[in-house]
């Protein structure tokens, strides 16, 4: 390529002034937008006082709560007495009425709590020895308080007369002279299938299976299989029955709401489309009606119908039905206005009745698109149904919100989240598969 002379460059510039000397706003527009965004972020920082809120947030709780999603803690209290320590458990412990876990080892007048391979706590009536890796700490149990010997390692703290030793994820122990409160943490969900009140509790899968297939009846009035199902369904800490019923309510809310909305907006869209119904007033009235339904938020509809029908899926169905009749109606009528007129003309030219013109000239073009849009809304409404449920429309959303407000049932939250995610992914898959079949391969 030849190098350009200075003259050629100047000539070039002169011929294309718009490229080489763009007007000010065009040159600096991206910069101005960026500056505007930065200014807006600063404004919001001040408006919501984000800095203060983030700084005053209790971030150490985040770790604790996140841990509670996938693990559970068992508490035991060890009371040192001259005749040997007594080990007690809370009344509704995850370990049942008569716990004897392997991690509590009684050895004469000593009790050893095992927290892991090289983490343990050895308790007798004189002292407690905490071992973590190569370090160990001896705490003497004097009458006026726990007295740690030597320097405190960084995993132990002394507060007045109480020494707290921390074993990380495995748990911790609070030591005072009268008692040692141990919290031992395990990975997983405790008693997920059978709760401790169930006769099947603590049995292996094989034992349960053989009891169900050929065991003696545990309760004479029902078979073992029915009893097992009953125990699982009414598991007191996981409430499988309640959770699944509420989940079904949410699914029904989304399904019925979307279905009814698409059924109603289907005929209305024909009235709203100006090429199908050449009547200005009919078009405008239907279109403004759709706008009204859409712009009165789903929130307002949900609150309104919760007032009208009381909390439950009926309120949720109605809220989704009203909002989506508006949205689907708008989308459908726009689709109808964009159809190819040739087919309609063809059907009309052979003398078909007006109904048949729509049936054979319009419907084949729009039906796949309509169905595909309805499916898309079905899937996204499954998500919305969870949220409006929390406002009182019932379903899993409300249960989820209640479980979260207690701040202790994060494992139940995790269970429900897993169920919701599974439902959303399954519906997403079904809806995608159906939509790609409807649209044909050439659509994208």
């Amino acid at each position: 390529m030849n190098a350009m002379t200075a003259d050629a460059i100047a000539d070039f510039e002169l011929r294309h002034p718009a490229v080489f000397n763009p007007p000010f706003w065009r040159r600096f527009l991206p910069l101005l937008i960026a500056a505007g965004i930065v200014a807006y972020v600063f404004y919001c920082w001040w408006f919501f006082s984000i800095g203060t809120v983030l700084a005053s947030g209790q971030w150490q709780r985040a770790e604790l709560y996140a841990r509670d999603w996938v693990s559970y803690a068992i508490r035991t209290t060890v009371r040192p007495t001259p005749t040997g320590p007594t080990v007690s458990y809370p009344r509704f412990s995850e370990l049942g009425d008569n716990p004897n876990p392997g991690w509590v080892v009684k050895n004469g007048n000593d009790v050893t709590i095992v927290f892991g391979l090289d983490k343990s706590l050895d308790i007798n009536d004189q002292r407690v020895i905490a071992t973590r890796g190569s370090e160990s700490l001896t705490v003497l149990l004097a009458t006026d308080g726990a007295k740690p010997q030597g320097t405190l390692p960084d995993w132990a703290t002394l507060k007045e007369d109480q020494v707290t030793v921390n074993f990380g994820f495995a748990g911790q122990a609070d030591i005072i002279p009268q008692r040692v409160v141990v919290s031992r943490r395990f990975f997983g969900w405790a008693n997920f299938v059978f709760d401790t009140a169930s006769p099947f509790w603590g049995k292996s899968f094989g034992e349960v299976a053989s009891l169900i297939t050929n065991g003696e009846r545990i309760k004479p009035e029902m078979s073992n299989a029915a009893l097992a199902f009953d125990n699982i369904w009414f598991n007191s800490s996981w409430q499988h029955g309640d959770v699944w019923t509420k989940l079904l309510q949410t699914i029904v809310m989304a399904f019925m709401g979307t279905l009814m909305a698409s059924l109603l907006s289907f005929p209305l869209a024909f009235i709203a489309a100006r090429n199908i119904t050449p009547n200005f007033f009919a078009n405008q009235i239907t279109k403004r009606f759709f706008d009204f339904l859409r712009s009165v938020d789903m929130l307002i509809w949900a609150l309104f119908f919760t007032r009208a029908f009381g909390p439950g899926p009926l309120a949720g169905i109605s809220a989704i039905f009203f909002t989506d009749t508006g949205t689907l109606g708008k989308v459908y009528s726009e689709t109808l206005e964009n159809i190819d007129d040739k087919q309609r003309e063809g059907v009309k030219s052979v003398g078909a009745s007006p109904a048949n013109v729509q049936r054979y000239g319009v419907l084949p073009q729009v039906l796949p698109v309509f169905a595909s849009q309805a499916l898309y809304f079905w899937e996204s409404n499954t998500r919305s149904a969870t949220i409006i449920g929390a406002m009182g429309a019932g379903g899993i959303g409300l249960k989820l919100w209640e479980a979260m407000r207690t701040n202790t049932n994060w494992h139940n939250v995790a269970y429900m989240v897993v169920l919701i995610l599974a439902v959303i992914f399954i519906f997403d898959g079904i809806s995608n598969a159906l939509r790609s079949r409807l649209a044909g391969k050439s659509h994208h």
Partner: protein
Amino acid sequence: MSRTAPAELSSDGIQIERHWQELAGRRRAYSWIIAIGLLVTITGSLWFANESNAGKFFDRLPHLFDFAGDLIPRDGWEVWRAMFDLPSPYFDGSLKYDYPEGRVYLFSGFYMPEYFYKMLETLNIAILATLVGFIFGFMICFAAAKNLVKNRLIRFVARRYMEILRAFPEIVIAGFFAAILSLGPIPAMFAVGIHTIGALGKLFFEVVENADMKADEGLRAVGANWIERVGFGIVPQVMPNFMSYALLRLEINVRASTIIGAVGGGGIGEELRLSIGRGHQAKTLAIILLLFVTIIAVDQFSAWLRRRLIGDQAFAFGG
């Protein structure tokens, strides 16, 4: 038209005829099965919904408009008084008619009505969440695009990551952050923002995959690295579509943040829930009106801007 008697079919013809009848019959049978199945599902669903609802449909139907009837204000000015925080002649010491309570004074003597302030809060939640979603979605989407990243693993991770962000129930994110930061607009912003990252990221990478790769090829020919190729070859052509999707998302987020607000995220949603719960008719009506107008305004503004950005294509349905 004179009709002649149908010709006798040949044996081949009879076979074809029979086969066609068979196919048509099967088709009809499938249609019936689907229709009956759908009918059973609908009936079952409605029955289930009615059974597990607190009030029964037919018992409550006559009372459907009781609440709407309750909303009728005492006189035509009451709604405006509630909306603009003006003192009401019906003031009786209760919160119901105590409109000036909650005025937000910007500077001495000049105040912003409470609900306008709350509406602004909700709008700011939505805008900031969209902004956060846009920025992070923008950063992730290129890693998920088939035409830019050849590594299957990176694409897989990026896509699944966005999918989880998208599907994770917003209310759980809000609840989790509310437990850490206490209730308020910031957990709501986290919830809406995190969902937006996933939702926008998905739309973005689909746009990127449909981008014209000629510009990218040219840049590669002159030895540009990956970031330069994306920055100068892809971004300029996808930016209008990105902006359009972000605006569409803004419309959705305004609605989402009012709903999240109603479950404890602050803003206008919470005010609405409280005022309906307490039976403050004029206030409820004022909030509904304000919300209605704001949503229409945001929708219209976004539609106008999108039309300017990418023309009528913006109104084709985006999945």
